[in-house]
Every structure is written in C-alpha cells, then in structure tokens.
C-alpha cells in the first residue's frame, strides 16, 4: 500500500502506461477509499451504498485513466468522477421512486447539480430569517443588503442567509478572515444607518 504523503503521480503514470497496472490500481484504491467513503457519507448515502458508489467511481477511473492528462490535480479529477457518480445515484433513486423505471444516464456534470436542488435565491434562502424577523423586516433587510457593494454584500449574505462563520466565509470567497471581519463590521454600520432604529440591535 502506498504511504500517505508519498507522491501519487508515479502511481498514476504506471497505471496509465500499463506497467504494474493492477498494483497501481490497488494503491490508488487503498489511498482514496476512505476520502471517498467520507464524501459519499456526507452526501447522505448509507454505508452499504457508499461501498457501491466507491466501486463505481473506481470502475470509471479504471476505464477513463487514459483521459487524465495531469492538467488538473489528480484529487480534483477523482472528486469530479465521484460527484458525478453521486448525482447519477440520486437521479436513479428519484426515478425509481417516481415510476419504478430506469432513467437515461447520459447527461452529467454541468447540469447535474441542478438535479440536486431547485434554484436558490436570496428570497428562497431567507425563509428562516423571515420566521425570525417577520416578513416586513426581512424584506427591508434584503433590499438593503442588495444595495451594498459587491464584496460586502456577498459576505453579509453568507453570514445572514447561510449562517456561516468568518473563517468559512473567508475560505469560500478566498479572502483573509480579517477582511471578512472588516467588511461585516462596515456592513452592520451601513445597514443600521439605512434601516433605522428597528435594526439597532442587528448584529453580524
């Protein structure tokens, strides 16, 4: 088994050019089994289905390794295959539930995530907030947020609508945590000024 931290590129190269193909494949399997298991588990699949999905992911890797040219990182290439496998499984599950029939499995990836959720919007995701603040105040707040500068607006949305902490917001928007903190501080001042006394206790 390949040790964790050992470069994976030579293993992939051996798998690609067919020298020690089975052994290289086993090395990849051993090394990425648990990362894939945790990924599928977090996507809501039960353990036995995770096992199936890992196998399907590796079958696709085995068949498609020729297409991996090292232009992107290996783990990203693998993640994409795993995400597509998860999407197919969810579609299949939905189709079986709907009609007890098979579904065509051709289209993948770009439109794939749309199958996982209906479209989202500020209004759609603001439902918990609406329950907290009431409809009128929430609508006022959303209009005011939409008027903020782009970076500030995105920070506020992630904080208020998705309830993320500063570090997570920083990682998602690829900013320094201190920048996020400053943006949210400024945003609170602006929103309190714009919305008046009814938002005096509003915090971010």
């Amino acid at each position: 088994m390949s040790r964790q931290g050992e470069p994976i590129e030579p293993v992939i190269q051996r798998l690609r050019d067919g020298t020690g193909r089975e052994e290289s494949f086993r090395t990849l399997f051993d090394r990425f089994y648990w990362p894939l298991f945790r990924f599928f588990e977090r996507r809501g699949f039960p353990p036995e289905e995770c096992q199936d999905l890992i196998q399907e992911t590796f079958i696709r890797v085995y068949r498609g390794i020729e297409a991996f040219r090292g232009e992107s990182r290996w783990e990203h290439w693998l993640f994409r295959i795993a995400a597509n496998t998860a999407i197919k499984a969810l579609r299949h599950r939905a189709a079986v539930k709907r009609a007890g029939q098979e579904v065509p499995l051709e289209e993948e990836d770009e439109g794939g995530l749309q199958a996982m959720a209906a479209g989202e919007s500020a209004r759609g995701t603001a439902e918990p907030l609406r329950q907290l603040l009431g409809k009128e105040r929430t609508d006022l707040l959303i209009v005011a947020i939409e008027g903020l500068p782009a970076q500030m607006r995105r920070c506020v949305r992630l904080r208020v609508l998705q309830d993320l902490d500063y570090d997570e917001i920083a990682e998602i928007l690829q900013l320094a945590p201190s920048t996020v903190k400053v943006q949210l501080f400024k945003a609170r001042k602006r929103l309190q000024m714009e919305l008046g006394s009814s938002f005096a206790d509003f915090d971010l």
Binding site: R73, E75, L113, Q162, I172
Partner: protein
C-alpha cells in the same frame, strides 16, 4: 446563474477561472447553500486525500476491493495496448559491397545464436520437468502428512469421546488403571499430533499447503428461485443465480440480480434451519452501471442447513424473490 457544476468549482479552487467568471461564481455562492456545500465537500476531500481523514474498519475496505475486482469488466483487465510507433518510409540508397559482407556476417551470427538458443531451451525444458516432478513428490508427501494428521486427530477425538462416555455413565466407578491408561494414550496421541505438525518441510519446491482452517463444502439448492434465472431444480454448484464460492472457513455467495424486476431495495436474510435469522442485510436497487449482482460473505458457518431469503422491497410492498437451501459440510 445556474448551479456552479463541479468543473467550475474545481477551477475556482485551482484559481484558473477568468476574473468575470470568478466574480459571477462568488455572487452565486453567496446565494446558494447547495453550491457552497459542494465547495466545502471539495475542500474536505482535498484535506482527506492529503491524509486528514477518519478511517474505519479495514475489512470494509478489503471487502470493497474484492467486490470491485469481481465487477471490473474482463475486457478492461488487460493493460492498454501499446500504440505502434509510426515508422519513417525507408529511403532507397545504393548498396555497397561491404554491406553484403556485413549482412553475411550477421546472418552467420544469427544462425549460431539460433542453435545456441535451441540448446538452451532444451536444457531449460529438462530443468522445468525436473522441477515439476519434485513438486508432485512434495505435494504427495504433504498429502500423506495431512492424512496422518487427520487420523491422529480422529483417534484423539475417539479417545476423548470414550472418556466422556465413561465419565457420564459411571462417573464414580471408573477404575484408576483404565483412566491412567486412557490419559497415557491421549498424551501419546497429542505428542504424535505435535510431531506431525512440526514435521520439517521437504527441501525444494514451494510450500503449497499452509496450516489454516479447513475447507468447507457448500451446496445451494433453490426452493423458490429468482424469477426466470434457475435451471430446473437440483443442486446448484455454480451457474445459477446464486453462485457459491468455496473458501477456507468462509462462504461467499455471489447473487446475480441482473434479470429480475426493479425494486427500490433488496433484503437478504440468512437463517438457520429453525428460522432464526443469523444475518440480514440490505442493498439498494439496480446499480447504475448495470447490475453485476451482489456478494454475501459469511464466515464461521458451522456444518448444517441454512436458508437464504432474497426479498425485493418497494414503497408499498415486499416481494419474495427467492429462497435457497444451503448445505454446509466439511469434506470427508
């Protein structure tokens, strides 16, 4: 904006998105918990791939690997074909007389090499035949040792049985001399057994038989077969919907679900002859790459009769798809 798509999220993480697309994606992410969730999964997967991952029981991974190897289509098992290197068209050039001399010398060398190769091949074949003969001898010697070992074990068991019988029937009246005699016999047999176990290996040839659990024999007979899949009755030893695979002290059943009605889920139950459920498991409905079946692996089954039930589960009904009788026995 539509949902981001894994490809775009990866490009975002790798920093290869053009500025305008990057801005649009950040705008979308701020509104879409689904895409931020996937981005966080991607981040976690990167960390896990770098080693920061909580692992679980090792047998689970081993089981998945074995199952994967069985599922790999045969045609993909062969290594990719080596692409032929295109050759440049040969250019015609005037042939000098020294070229003929060199060609003749090469030809002579080639003939000499062929003769030498033939001799070497013959020698190698002879050596191989010798090795094969030695291997056969070694195997028969080992089989003999095993037979003797089995016989000693049988005698030991018989002696133990006799003692137990005597103790049961006449626990207080067993004469001391008889007891001593039996104990001496047991000690003798135990020593024999140990000696046989420690028998040194015959030199030469690989060790083909290792000490370990006994093989078991397994037969599967359908009571209610999976629809349209079984041949007409009788005992199955491979080729039906449920294919038993004999392994040391372990029963593996490969169940072929490829030709059956679609169900949302399948339930498997292994029962003893009194109907007590020893093991139960579920798997989801048809696999996405076509259904190569499912594999049940049960270890430590004592000799006896068992039943394997396979049921298809739907949202509002359960259908009995098949029921099989399993006979597990140790070989004579």
């Amino acid at each position: 904006m539509d949902h981001a798509g894994t490809k775009r999220l990866i490009a975002y993480r790798e920093g290869t998105l053009p500025e305008a697309e990057r801005e649009a994606l950040q705008e979308h992410l701020s509104l879409c918990p689904r895409c931020t969730g996937l981005l966080r999964d991607l981040r976690d997967f990167e960390a896990a791939a770098a080693g920061a991952v909580e692992t679980g029981p090792e047998p689970l991974r081993q089981e998945a690997w074995e199952s994967l190897v069985r599922r790999l289509p045969r045609e993909t098992k062969t290594p990719p074909a080596v692409r032929p290197v295109p050759t440049l068209p040969a250019r015609r050039q005037p042939v000098a007389s020294w070229v003929y001399a060199v060609a003749a010398a090469l030809l002579l060398a080639a003939v000499g090499f062929s003769i030498w190769s033939a001799v070497m091949v013959r020698q190698e074949r002879r050596r191989l035949a010798d090795l094969e003969q030695r291997l056969e001898e070694r195997e028969s010697a080992l089989a003999e040792v095993q037979r003797a070992l089995a016989e000693s074990e049988r005698q030991l068991q018989a002696a133990l049985g006799r003692i137990q019988g005597l103790q049961k029937d006449q626990p207080d009246t067993l004469p001391d001399t008889r007891e001593t005699e039996l104990e001496a016999r047991i000690a003798e047999l135990t020593a024999d057994l140990e000696k046989l176990r420690r028998t040194p290996r015959t030199p030469g040839g690989p060790d083909r038989i290792t000490a370990g659990p006994r093989q078991i024999d397994l037969s599967v007979a359908p009571r209610f077969a999976l629809r349209g899949q079984e041949p007409g009755g009788g005992v199955l030893r491979g080729g039906g919907a449920v294919n038993p695979v004999r392994q040391a002290d372990r029963v593996t059943l490969a169940v072929d679900l490829s030709d059956h009605p679609v169900h949302a889920e399948y339930r498997f139950e292994l029962m003893d002859e009194n109907g007590k459920v020893l093991w139960a498991g579920r798997r989801p409905g048809k696999s996405l790459l076509g259904d190569a079946g499912t594999t049940l692996s049960v270890s430590g089954l004592a000799p006896g009769s068992y039943r394997l039930r396979i049921e298809g589960l739907g949202p509002d009904r359960t259908e009995l798809l098949g029921e099989y009788l399993l006979e597990v026995q140790t070989p004579k």
